[in-house]
Subunit: 258 residues, 4 copies
């Protein structure tokens, strides 16, 4: 078996497609955003990437059906401004070793480069602030000064100090290795606490992305998910308060749950 | 040396053979079941799989003879209903890294696919409940809805929530990668505490498997093994009680030993 | 993707070039020295080495531009005595696994061997003494007795006991693998405490190296960096004293910050 | 670079040579024995094995000369009964990963098989008893019943229970993989405490080996090394007693130092 096994699900010609990547990570922001985009745009399955760099694991559905863990590439035609097409990469895992990260990212990029001459990549991620985030800013990093300037016009924040140590994982690697394929790209990082999955941060990221790409998107379902997370957080907060009061201990402000 | 080295021990033509996998794992259920099946049916050695994905280890027999750790494929002719043949994969270890798991599973499947056009796989495993199990249910997961329905008729339980996180290891991977070879398959998981090797759970799994495949099997020896484990557990339980009483501490119910 | 991907940035013929290696390590001595040499001599970029043996990471500049982590080879013509040329290898990381260390070192050496028939390697490193170092001696290790004698004339110390367990990492490996390419070489290790990045140790190493190679170099900027580190250390020292006095505890001499 | 790089140091024809392996391990028994054999017989260097499965390390001699870590094959002509030749494998490390163990062992065996049609392997090792060993028995494991019987005649002990879990590492693997090259072999394990390097255990192993192979060997220097270790152990023992007495604590018998 190859290190990465690509199963082609559809034969399709795409017009200068933009690649959007969103895999599991901080606050699951990238995956939430990519999955939402895929679902709402009705993107169609194009290729599945299996790999020995994923855990040796199958998921079992409620119906008892197994599915080998993978990354998945979907496409949606004509949805990007200039009637360009869209490619969305999502999945269950990032590669579970440094070598796996490189190998998987490279194989996806190579596929998009060879099949569709993809020139543009957007990677979606969360940026953990370590405290509650009221106003989800979207931080950016890009491959060219021109892209930095364009992103600023869409409200993306380029901070001198964030992210300090650089980006670790797929969202950085898709840009770094993308350059070796002649691709330009942007990483959009939604601020998040880092303690919860964060649909609001995913929404912030998607709002920027859809504006940049000229995609129309309805955010109401994401809003619903966000409210559900809020309710869970609220319940934890209340339980915590009761425990604090009962024990007569001074109440600490657990502000990060909000 | 290849990552996996296959030593062929026999040249044989097999009729549409069903592959049954049982390797060490939770409660050793899968290995107990596969080894028992192999022994009772008098299956013959077909191929040995050596690999750098196993520990660098040899076993030494009571006679002082060494044997390199391996996985082993055996066959038994005409024992499956429709006078189909049977392949049994057992062995000392699963691959000791994620990469090794993928590589070994893939090589066994590829061998069965190329040599015998195997279309059907049954994987045997334990499912750890974390508490004593009185009635060893057999949980299932399968590759197709039709197989799920068939298994239900044989008493296999398909639970909405179990296994929650999916299956990790060979028993899941043989199904997941098997699909890439066009194979259909079922994982049969015997409920077990997870604290002891569990011949009774292996028996429960084998009873389903043999009914499904139309194999006749005598379970008395497995019953013997189960009683031996019971005696060991009982002795531990009694020792524990004496210690508890001697120390005058409140006796905790160590129910999981049963 | 190859395990190591070499991106050639310049086509150039070099005259019997000496290879100098300085990567991150103890006290960052090697990297500080190599980077300073590169900057002061105005060395030009020759090749970038990307690899799956580095972390899956990009750095983000203050302007928001990403850069994939790498090792980098630069060159400077005619600066070594005998009007020989110079190659400098620096970078963000050493390989993050033993296998990666071997693979990366071998690929850089092979490149220098094939392209320029490089015969001579100098590796720069820190040697951790575990206590404050007033007088930064430069310890040595070499591939031939003749090189040992030559280095002694330049003040390099060859100690019976240091380094006791040998050299671990790139600085040793460039010499050990270099021999397989027919290269001779020296490792220059600046003594350092091991607690701080140590520009003074880098200066000591560079002073020996430049004398050996007949390179003229201005050390004033390195002196500036050293003073900055001194100031930081001094501040930590003072804070520590105040804490000690306030707590009335017997003041321990934190001599290693000195 | 290949995973294992073989540097040939001599061209020689050997007569049905016996391969003896002794690498670092429990009590360093195998390495002590192989190195002593090599030195006393004046064996000549034949090949060096470098590998990315060793640590990325060079040793530095007292003269300041570096040497890349390796395994080394030496030969001695006509020293085995029947005027057969001898091959000795020693070195700095065993492979540092399971994969490395397999790969290195396989490459050495393949080399001996191809170059010299080697048919017989003896591996030397220590067997840790966890307590002081007065009378160093030599335990055995072999590839054939005939070899077991032969070894018994030379006083080798084949114990029902030892080694219980089999042999892990090079000494077992040379036999297990050796079988795949059609080689027969024996592992000789000298009993040792496991707390010290143990020249007496190495002597016991060598005494059996030399009798089996008909090699004449003078053991006086090994006796000297053993006495040196005794002196060190004695000093630790005395220091320990003084500490015990001074603290008035009940003296525990540190019998394992002997």
């Amino acid at each position: 078996m190859d290190d990465v096994h690509i199963r082609l699900l559809d034969k399709v010609a795409l017009k200068d497609p933009v690649l959007v990547e969103g895999l599991p990570g901080v606050g699951n922001v990238g995956k939430l955003a990519a999955d939402y985009l895929k679902e709402k745009l009705g993107a169609k399955p194009l290729a599945t990437f299996y790999s020995k760099f994923f855990p040796p694991q199958v998921y079992v559905s409620e119906e008892g059906l197994i599915r080998l863990v993978s990354n998945d590439l979907s496409y949606r035609k004509g949805v990007v401004s200039g009637s360009r097409d869209l490619l969305i990469l999502g999945g269950d895992y990032q590669g579970i070793s440094p070598e796996g990260q490189y190998e998987l990212t490279e194989r996806v990029l190579e596929f998009c480069h060879r099949q569709f001459a993809t020139r543009e990549v957007y990677t979606l991620a969360g940026f953990a602030q370590g405290h509650v985030v009221e106003n989800h800013r979207v931080l950016g990093a890009a491959t060219t000064p021109a892209l930095v300037e364009t992103m600023k016009k869409f409200g993306v924040v380029f901070s001198r100090n964030d992210p300090g140590g650089g980006l670790i994982g797929a969202s950085g690697l898709f840009l770094g290795l993308g350059q070796l394929f002649g691709m330009e790209g942007v990483c959009l990082m939604g601020e998040t606490s880092g303690y919860f999955v964060d649909p609001r941060s995913a929404e912030a990221v998607l709002k920027v992305l859809t504006k940049v790409l000229g995609i129309e998107l309805n955010f109401s379902d994401l809003e619903g998910k966000a409210k559900e997370i809020d309710r869970i957080a609220q319940r934890i907060h209340e339980t915590d308060q009761k425990v604090s009061e009962a024990s007569n201990a001074p109440r600490e402000d657990l502000g990060y749950i909000g």
